[in-house]
Subunit: 284 residues, 4 copies
Amino acid sequence: MRRSYILTASCPDRIGIIAAVSGLIARLGGSILEASQHADAAAGWFFMRYEIDATTLAASREELAAAIEEIAGSFAMRWQLNDSARPKRVLVLASRTDHCLADLIYRWRSGTLPGELVGVVSNHTLLAAQVEAAGLAFHHVPVTAERRLQAFEAIERIFEALAADVMVLARYMQILPPPLCARLSGRIINIHHSFLPSFVGANPYRQAYERGVKIIGATCHYVTEALDAGPIIEQDVVRIHHGDTVERLIALGQDVEKNVLARGLRYHLEDRVLRHGNKTVVFA
Amino acid sequence: MRRSYILTASCPDRIGIIAAVSGLIARLGGSILEASQHADAAAGWFFMRYEIDATTLAASREELAAAIEEIAGSFAMRWQLNDSARPKRVLVLASRTDHCLADLIYRWRSGTLPGELVGVVSNHTLLAAQVEAAGLAFHHVPVTAERRLQAFEAIERIFEALAADVMVLARYMQILPPPLCARLSGRIINIHHSFLPSFVGANPYRQAYERGVKIIGATCHYVTEALDAGPIIEQDVVRIHHGDTVERLIALGQDVEKNVLARGLRYHLEDRVLRHGNKTVVFA
Amino acid sequence: MRRSYILTASCPDRIGIIAAVSGLIARLGGSILEASQHADAAAGWFFMRYEIDATTLAASREELAAAIEEIAGSFAMRWQLNDSARPKRVLVLASRTDHCLADLIYRWRSGTLPGELVGVVSNHTLLAAQVEAAGLAFHHVPVTAERRLQAFEAIERIFEALAADVMVLARYMQILPPPLCARLSGRIINIHHSFLPSFVGANPYRQAYERGVKIIGATCHYVTEALDAGPIIEQDVVRIHHGDTVERLIALGQDVEKNVLARGLRYHLEDRVLRHGNKTVVFA
Amino acid sequence: MRRSYILTASCPDRIGIIAAVSGLIARLGGSILEASQHADAAAGWFFMRYEIDATTLAASREELAAAIEEIAGSFAMRWQLNDSARPKRVLVLASRTDHCLADLIYRWRSGTLPGELVGVVSNHTLLAAQVEAAGLAFHHVPVTAERRLQAFEAIERIFEALAADVMVLARYMQILPPPLCARLSGRIINIHHSFLPSFVGANPYRQAYERGVKIIGATCHYVTEALDAGPIIEQDVVRIHHGDTVERLIALGQDVEKNVLARGLRYHLEDRVLRHGNKTVVFA
């Protein structure tokens, strides 16, 4: 994998955006490995992602960033410039169920997760040994009715102390306080154990069983202040069978959950996801 | 395709059901091509489907039926015995949209629909020419606010006059009167243009677009008195893309709709679907 | 659908391609609806597709083309500029099997095929009535051992007389002469009734049945002089079951074939496919 | 999960098989939870699988087995009777790649593998620590050109000493000696990193990349003396993209491999797979 800079940007749509950005990159000698642009006509918004070969660039990352900043204002552009040599740092929150966590740890250790796991927070101690055996720091932060806000303040401090970029709720069974969701907007990713929009409320696999659906699914989305209503990053489904018990549905669902989370998180870590309003553009 | 009898049956679960039924078939010399049995432990209910080689049977269909009837009482068994040489007769209801109708007509004409189309009812005349060109009778039954019940009485008379076995709502844009649904319980099949349970109400493709889902689907189900809540026979999905407009979602969705309807209807026509409560067992 | 110009181009990779092309479009006032660029590092080749809002362009299609031509030389660029208001013209070749043909006709008539069917050529007369009923010209060109080359000369003349852009082999059971494949390189699309690379030779569904595979598929590809070895545009699969006979495999396979062909052809008609060597880049 | 006996049987097809077997079970008071029968008309062979509620049976497993044995002869029936309380014992063979192994270990530890891992054999030591950390015995058996047969004799002794029921080649990079394959016929399962039948030879992912296919897959099959030609248990695929490098194809392929192996192995462990000739019937 050669080193690259990933530029993502979005702004109100108008003529000349690509020309301005690609012209700037060309003037600095940057070779473009992959580029995608999309105009959402209904929203009047423009989205772009550039993957630039860092080794070809006759400028530092800072100089490139400064050049982008110069033109960003005139386009009212929100942008990010990330360096593949500085992978995003991931803090995982889990409770007792470990299928998503174990999968993320495996991918991280085997080098197929394009990010860095930096620690695991849990409201239980059940997963401590397995996290530590993987060489990861385990932070036990109990969440009680009385000390709920303090618990999430502690989690936010851990997130900041570890200089984490993204918080992953890997079947974390607590609802985050809305102000925390707002502060980390676009940086908290959840895996929902259902195909959204779908069954509302607890135990979607039992509801799926009782409704007699033939397919179940899972949804990876950004967390917002509105529960389970944030921008969707990725979804997938699996076909089920009349002989499957609720327990089997849960097992099949867990496989989908971990695959959908792994894929959605990869898109985020590779800067393939741009949000606008409550939707995402995914340059997969 | 050799001629076969299809026996489907369900009853409260108890010991000896398979032995009784298969013993009876063996005594009449029947060779079994395919057999499936399922006990739903939660519901305490037993389901079975037998495909019997008709050419091996030392008894007529009537004698076989009489023999089954003799044991059915002691098991409180609901059963059906169908003859592959007497394919089910299908009456299709459509409005203006024709993708499902055209697909069913194509399958019927090409010999891959295991049933007989016997006519099309529509509340519009738009599809008349295409239906008649296929050699099918077209029945125009307008449905107006004032003469709604009379319209459905007329449709029911057409269904009976044609000796139809199953009514297929191929994107038929009218809600059937509950008493009709009750009378034809298990004999009306609808294709719903959404992955149930999912978006409620009109225009699910626009809702899917606005919610930013990554997958859309369709659901084939039996019609009951409760709207869109009947037993599900088959579902499927298709992955969509951020560049897809609502129009493209509709086009992609129509492909799923026609495939799901064709598959669900095939299962029904081949007696692969057994209902119990609001669920189905599909011996696919 | 607003009118758009689609620019596709490929060339040896170097710095400044996007800047040059997008700069040119911006100077002519063109608003870009969608743009995708891909560099194949292994091949050292660059691919791009621009969808330009025609209504925003302060230049005619010819002026835009002339401006592109000016820069194309310096990049050794192969390019095309198509107008959504001038959909591609499709000549279909079929033999006796009609599932793909009927599907294309349906999509064309219902307005979801982004191209224009202009005629059907067949080596048999079986499909004549159905083609003509759809308002399409039917050309019967028998292909016999003695007059094979003359037959394909006739087909090529029909293709030219109809000003067709693309020839679709919709389960056409004749092998095209290599010189014809060479002359129409990139303009002949075939649907292969197998998942390539896979079973070699005739009757892949029987081979699949005998090998006991659990999944069968189909492949849409450009036709080249090497049989079944041309650049792949699209593929898909369907799961099969031990109870499925060869006949059922054929029926299931036909559904996949028509869906894969429809999708692959749509990509071609929307200028989403760029070839290089024996591979394709598909900006889907 | 209630305790059950699983009876699988196959024999030449004739009238009365189901009646004989289900009659026998009913006489012993056995309640049947699930039953499937299939006649392969082309092969003239009959297959069945019964799942019997052990708690209802007025006979021991041995008495049931003796009763089956009594009728088996007259039907020339090959049969097995397994006890869900005695899960199959699995010996895993691996080399250096661990994605399949790690997945199997995770499923075993989390209770979703319906079998018992009893040890891991490897021709390398790389995976020793991770295997032992999971509480599993690790057997290092180097395979050298000079001592190849001895190595496999050692592996077979380990298999027998552990009373293993099935040997899983979890990306084990050695070819087993044909006599070993013959002796353990139907008891060795391999995961092949390609969609069979497909690319022949080494590095199928590179071949897939070079051929430009749009879908890659994996195949789980029984090992026979003919390399990669044994009866297929399960297959699956994943869609790929023109931007995917060979490395990404490998990563995507590994996800498919582990899922296909897990599913195929589950079918085997639950006695859902019956072989006949070079094909399988899978009562999934």
